[in-house]
Structure formats: C-alpha cells, structure tokens
Symmetry: D2
Subunit: 152 residues, 4 copies
C-alpha cells in the first residue's frame, strides 16, 4: 500500500530476446537493454555512461518482443523493479534485479518508412514487422472512459 515502484528506460537490446513459453502457453521474454546517458562531469568533460538492464516481459508483451524486437532495437520500457534471489549449486546466495515491463514502445520501427522491405536487421524471416497492426504496442491504461461528457 502506498508504494510506487516504477522504472522508465530507453535503450537498445544487446541481443535478440530470449522467449520461452510456460505451461498454459504463457510467453516470457527476456533480454538485456543498454541505456547510455551522456552528460558533463564536474570538469565539463563529456562523459558517456552505459548501464545494462535485464528486462522481462510477460504474455502479450513477450509475444510482441518475439515478433518485432531484435539485437539493436531501440525501445521504451516502462515497468517495475523486481529482485530475485536463489542459491547456486555451491550454495552461494545470488541476487538478480530485473525490470518487469508493463509497457513497451518500439522506437525504431520508423525504419520501415524508408525501407519497407528490409527492416534494419536480421529478423528471423517470419512475416514480421510489416503490416500496420502490430496493435497493442501500448498495453496501457485499461481506462477508457465515456466520451467527452464530463459534467464539469
């Protein structure tokens, strides 16, 4: 209660997403995302800093990732932090912090504009990226209020 746990990332995939299907045919996608920020240090020198994040997507978002994302894709991810812990075979306690995505926006689909036939990278062929209803890019606010009949 009374908590907020929100992450917003824009970055590039380091590899193609790893997608798996659990029982019930539930898709889960996982990939590394690099966010690079540039800023000036105290001396005014330009510093570029890259951070790697593990992103996990479920269900519909995982399926979108499978269809449209690949190594190098630029994406906006909104989600929350989750830290998992376990013991490895030697009994060492391990931790991993992941970003579980609630929303995904693809930012380089625009490539298609210039170049409909050859999406920028080695998709696995399939019928991917074309067409224009990779609907649900946003899986957003399930709020859809009645039209503009606000009584104010």
């Amino acid at each position: 209660m009374r908590g907020v746990n929100k992450v917003i990332l824009i970055g590039n995939l380091g590899r193609d997403p790893d997608v798996q299907f659990l029982e019930g045919n539930i898709a889960v996608a996982k990939f590394s995302l690099a966010t690079t920020e540039t800023f000036k240090d105290r001396a005014g020198k330009l510093i570029s800093q890259t951070e790697w994040h593990t992103v996990v997507l479920w269900r519909g978002l995982a399926e979108l990732a499978q269809k449209y994302l690949h190594k190098g894709s630029l994406v906006y991810i909104e989600g929350r932090l989750r830290t998992r812990s376990w013991e490895d075979k030697e009994g060492n306690k391990k931790f991993a912090t992941e970003v579980v995505g609630d929303n995904l926006v693809m930012l380089d689909k625009r490539m298609d504009l210039n170049n409909q036939d050859h999406p920028i990278a080695h998709h696995s062929g399939s019928g991917s990226g074309s067409g224009d209803n990779y609907s649900g890019l946003d899986i957003p606010p399930s709020l859809n209020e009645p039209a503009d009949d606000l009584p104010f």
Copy 2:
C-alpha cells in the same frame, strides 16, 4: 503508436474532490492539486514554486477519491495529459489541460498509524480511512504472472 504521455505528481488537494456520477453510475472525480517544488536559482537563492493542476479520476479511482481524499490530502497521481477545448457562451475558444489519473497513492493515510481514530481532517464521518484494507489504492499493472518459475 509509439507515443508516451505520462504525468507524475505529488501534491496537496486544494479542496475536497468534486465527485459526480454519470449514466451507468460511473463516478468521475475532479480536484485541484498543488505541487510545490523548491530549488535554488542561479544566485543560490531558495525558490519555492507552486503549480496548480486539474486532476480527473474515473470509476474506481473516483470512488476512492470520494471516500478518502479531502482538502489538504497529500497524494501521488500518475496519469496522462488531456487538453479539452470548447467555446464559451460568448464564442471564445477555451482550452483546459487536465491530468487524467491512472493511478493514485494516498500519502498521508499514515496518520492512521499514530492516530487511528481521528484521521487528520474533517472527513465526512462515513466509514473513512481506518481499517487497513482500503484496497486498490493502486489499480496497477493487471500483470500478474505465475510465481517464480521463470525458466531462465
């Protein structure tokens, strides 16, 4: 597609929320929210700057607002911007930008911790804020994945 429109506010209600019910018994709440930020200007002087926002909540969130929020309440609102336009009686074009909330977190309920019986302010008596299941404070990610059986 490919868009993001997100607002995050923490501030205090300027008045009790105005709640109305549309056909279908759909609740809509509206209130002014003051966000005050403090920072230093170029000269190092401390500046306090208050901005007023119009917040609109629908359905369940509007009902929570009606039950638990009042003048002075401190809240976290996450939502999106929406600008409406219309003509007033004199035919002047008018604009109003509102924040339509998708998520609400009440930040001063904690009062209850110290003082279960007298929430900090003049609630309308009702069965207000006590108890600890004013559930649904967050109306968040409808993502609920299977437990920790991630195959990675």
Copy 3:
C-alpha cells in the same frame, strides 16, 4: 516542498520549433508535440488517441532544438507542467498549460545511420545533424560522483 511535478512524453513535432532569443542571448524554443497512444477499448476495439502538447525549452536545450529538431522529429521530453494565464485584448482570461522541458532525447537521429546526407527533413542546411558530438543531448543529473570507491 514535498512536491513532484513531472511529465514524460514521447512524440513527434507538429512543426519546426519556433526559437527566439531573449535579452542576454537566452534561447527559448517552443513547439507542438503529438503523442499518440494506442489501446483497446472496453469492446476490444483498437483505439488510437493523439494528444497535442506545447513544449518549451530554454537555453542549451533550446539551441539543440534549433539545430536538430524539425517537423516530424521523434523526441523524448522530460519536464514539468506550467500553466500560464493572462487576459487577451478583450479582457478574457486565458490559460495555457505547457511542458517545460528539463531533458531531451532525440529518437530518430538514427536516420543518419542509413542516410548521412539527407536527414529526413528540410533542415535549414546549416551544419546540422552529422558529426557525432551533438553532445549534451542529455542535460542530466549534474551528479557525478567519484568513481566506484563506495565504502559499503
């Protein structure tokens, strides 16, 4: 004090930015930004909703806008809401809500990768988008801590 007023947008410029210089040679840029979100309504139908925002940038960010942004540019803007009011000549009270940007990330510069010579749109010639040091894209956290000598 105790307030937050934050806006995060990803969208396209409706027109080239309008850039002006105030006394002291302070740059101010202003433009309209369209954010389009797609989601399913209660009936499962795909709805696309575009919202227009007025974005204002100051100083260095305004200069970046002047150099690199144009009609159609896809950008990430982080900023805060500010509502201004005034009276027009007829004495009508007017309001305008703007997003004052604190951070700007250009999301389609990538165009340059494919096509160094013809940025996607009619830049004003100048020495625009090429080169790779349109530094300061991010004008971010002026926090730059000492290297990784954290004592924990």
Copy 4:
C-alpha cells in the same frame, strides 16, 4: 546518447541510513527502501507485494538523508539504476543493482503537523526536522529561466 535510465520509488526505509564521508568530505548515504504495491490478481484477490531496493545518495542528498531520514520514513526517490559487480573473497562474481538518487522528497515530515515535538522516530536530537525550511528537499532542475517574459 539517446538513452533514458530512470527510477521512481515511493516507500519506507527499512533502517536508518548508513552515511559515510569519503575523502573531500563527500557524503554518501545508503539505505534499503521497501515499496509495497497492492493490486488484484487474475482471480480478483487482493495481492500485496513488497520489493526491497538499495538506494544510494551522494553529497547534499546524503546529508539530507542523514539529518532527516530514519527507519520507517516515507520518501519519494527519483534516480537511475546502476549495477555494480565484483568478486567476493571466494572468487564468486557478485552483482548488486542500486538506485542512485537524483532527487528526494520526504513525505512524512508532515508528522510535524500533529506532533511537533516528537517526530515519529529517534532522531539524533539535533534540533532538526522542526521549523519548516528544511529547504532544498528538491535539488531539482537547475533550470531557472527568466520570469514570465516569454515572447510567444
């Protein structure tokens, strides 16, 4: 360039902050923060989920943490993710993901309202928390534009 790495948290400190001073008298604070989100699972059952984060603050923010934060404090933190890795004595590779805070807003100072003399917890006495100008809570946008002489 072209990246965003942003985290927004609202939660409670699990313990008093651990504050240290590095050479140059640079303060660094570190603490665990619990964010609890409540939502309904697929079956409509109310689920409460707590996530623990490691938060690191530098310089002025660390000093504020030292003065005003303690076990149980409710805070808003805005920052970015940083993952550090190292090898422990046994040569095992270890990872730790932290939230490096760029902004801090204290959300329960209001306690003072009800109870000026006994802030909710064992402060180190110092006369701190009272008064109402623990200014600089926000250390925000170093943008401070000239007053409202926008030429638009």
